[in-house]
Symmetry: C2
Subunit: 432 residues, 2 copies
Amino acid sequence: MPITANDPKRKTWLDTPENTDFPIQNIPFGVFLTRDDIITIGTRIGDYAIDLGALHQLGYFEGIPLTDDIFLQDSLNDFISDGKKTWRLVRNRIAEIFDTKNEKLKNNQDHRNIVLFTLDEIEMQLPVQVGDYTDFYSSKEHATNVGTMFRDPENALLPNWLHIPVGYHGRSSSIIPSGIPVHRPQGQTLPAGAKEPVFGPSKLVDFELEMAFITTDANPLGEPIPIDEAEEYIFGLVLFNDWSARDIQKWEYVPLGPFLAKNFASSVSPWIVTLDALEPFRTESPKPEKELLPYLQFSGKKSFDIKLEVSLKPENGEETTVTRSNFKYMYWNMSQQLAHHTINGCPVNSGDMMGSGTISGPTPDSYGSMLELSWRGEKPVKLKDGSERKFIEDNDTVIMRGYCESQDRRIGFGEVSTKLLPVFQPKKNNSR
Amino acid sequence: MPITANDPKRKTWLDTPENTDFPIQNIPFGVFLTRDDIITIGTRIGDYAIDLGALHQLGYFEGIPLTDDIFLQDSLNDFISDGKKTWRLVRNRIAEIFDTKNEKLKNNQDHRNIVLFTLDEIEMQLPVQVGDYTDFYSSKEHATNVGTMFRDPENALLPNWLHIPVGYHGRSSSIIPSGIPVHRPQGQTLPAGAKEPVFGPSKLVDFELEMAFITTDANPLGEPIPIDEAEEYIFGLVLFNDWSARDIQKWEYVPLGPFLAKNFASSVSPWIVTLDALEPFRTESPKPEKELLPYLQFSGKKSFDIKLEVSLKPENGEETTVTRSNFKYMYWNMSQQLAHHTINGCPVNSGDMMGSGTISGPTPDSYGSMLELSWRGEKPVKLKDGSERKFIEDNDTVIMRGYCESQDRRIGFGEVSTKLLPVFQPKKNNSR
């Protein structure tokens, strides 16, 4: 089925800002609370949020096999379970409804009043109920930087790194949408030179610039997904800030990996941009430096050219862009990650989220974490207000943005913005 | 509220086998498909499964604040969300309904026909929808054995082990109930002496004898659970077989921990035995060998004396018990695990599962995995049929059982039984 929603010539009758992340060629999916406190699935064009639950009730999706309540849900999981054919039918139809040539909704003010919201009238929610969250470690530059800092510059990459897309399981319960603040975590750390650990607030809270893809139900227990089918099961992507506490991580992570250093929060951008919308931005993956085992070999363009940037905003201060990177730098692509994840028969479900790992580029101004940007704190990062940062300070806000751009279109992700609050203080006489 | 369901003198009017794991003092919770293909929440007394959905519709829970459909669900999550007070009211009521002195249901054959099932009429399901699954590593004997084999006998325990209940995130999607077979996983391994990895079936598939506890909604993002409140949020326990592929694990696990070596399957016993039912079996935890940070210090008996055993059954062969261990050997108890897991503000939800880690005892006949029992394969384990096992072979069934026993009662978990099938073979001309 053609992805007609991608037609670059299409224009919409909605007023949209120039250079918006959300032109009619994007049509992402999200979940929001409306002004009437109703939760619904929606899309976004320009600065309008569009209530798909209402559009469906009004008959605009006639002819597409959808259950009545498919959009009147608090997560996209069921819609994502419907599969790629349905996603395309719906996205193509939305493009038609808002096409300048289509006057049906355009000229129906009653319907427009029901389905269209301005952004200040809605509250974005987590777009999926995340069953399982996996985080990969797929940027060679990031793995090399970390290996250089903490192990051996001569052998920065561990022996398995060029053979497998290294990954580990993360915590679903602490994945939050943009806008929800996070408390600085407390925990155990081993101060330099000390023999016994101490307890207190993490002193080295960091962001990790990542993207995450969201899957549909892919395979029963025991059955691998072949690499050339993997993209069939990928619904779309979000920006992903994998918050990390470096000092907690250092003490806890041997031998079973990061745990409390990561699971206090991961923030995501609320609009899932579909793999279909990103189709025009396919690009070559980096050439493998070792011959890969057959189940990880692929042909064609499986990487995507998505520009990424991170800003820090001190309280009441101005934003400073601290890094610019690109999703295309990933050594391992999503198809390889999903083929690897399931080669042992591990089942993948609708709403599962797979993080890329920190996306660092080749140059120091493209590194994807403060750990790398400040090189363990040795080179503090200067902000516009004259202050410096080695890591994230209380009341700083971290904002990640991402977009694709070509001659004929811009497809963006909006942003994921998260404020770091001081350590949680239990209320006195708390009756809990 | 008193836990009257624990009264050791209570007898039931149901015929129950002597020495059953499920006397009227147990009253576990599970989910099953009935002979009419209806899914419901139930309990078990002796060899009867009892349909709590039907009992509720017939008015037997009158006076207890429960929604009409609380038991007509495919998971216990909502019931568990209702909290400990409600669990107790329901468990106490069930004890009363089946008490020899209570003739209401006993003498109502119509109702008995509706609510009582024999075990061969039902099919047990996974009892909860697992949001997040965490696996700890809390047996000192297991950590010491592994450290001795793979690192350094003189420094078998890593420096953090005596300070923190080391844990890591596992995969929820591959948690399966007893009775579902598992395919031998395939993947990458690095053969001894080789420089490049090879692909194929794991040669070192192992069980791990664990227990897992199931939580209720415990804390909002950012708020730790104090250790003395932790048990308020624990609903109950199941037997847990954390299947492991040792050769895959060895190659993949540095630096982020086990991934494909674990996430092909974890099997659980289907009946959740409540913490309340285990109350009479509290026992002291091992004395800490290092002074603990205050958030991990506790008073009172927080460990439980639960006898555990594992049998191997070759295809068409007889069972051989290969190990006998006890949940009380755990160095870190559940309260410590939950306090640690949330000290950074990580939220815990209803249905989350927390594995203990392999439960090895102090003697070689109490080790909790084939890796330890056969000491990396150096000491094969003899089976009754004369064959030997270093690890698990195709078509072997691994059966774990657990129970508590005292003068006045036996409270058991039944079993978790899982057959290991050969590697999955894709069908020719598979149209998927």
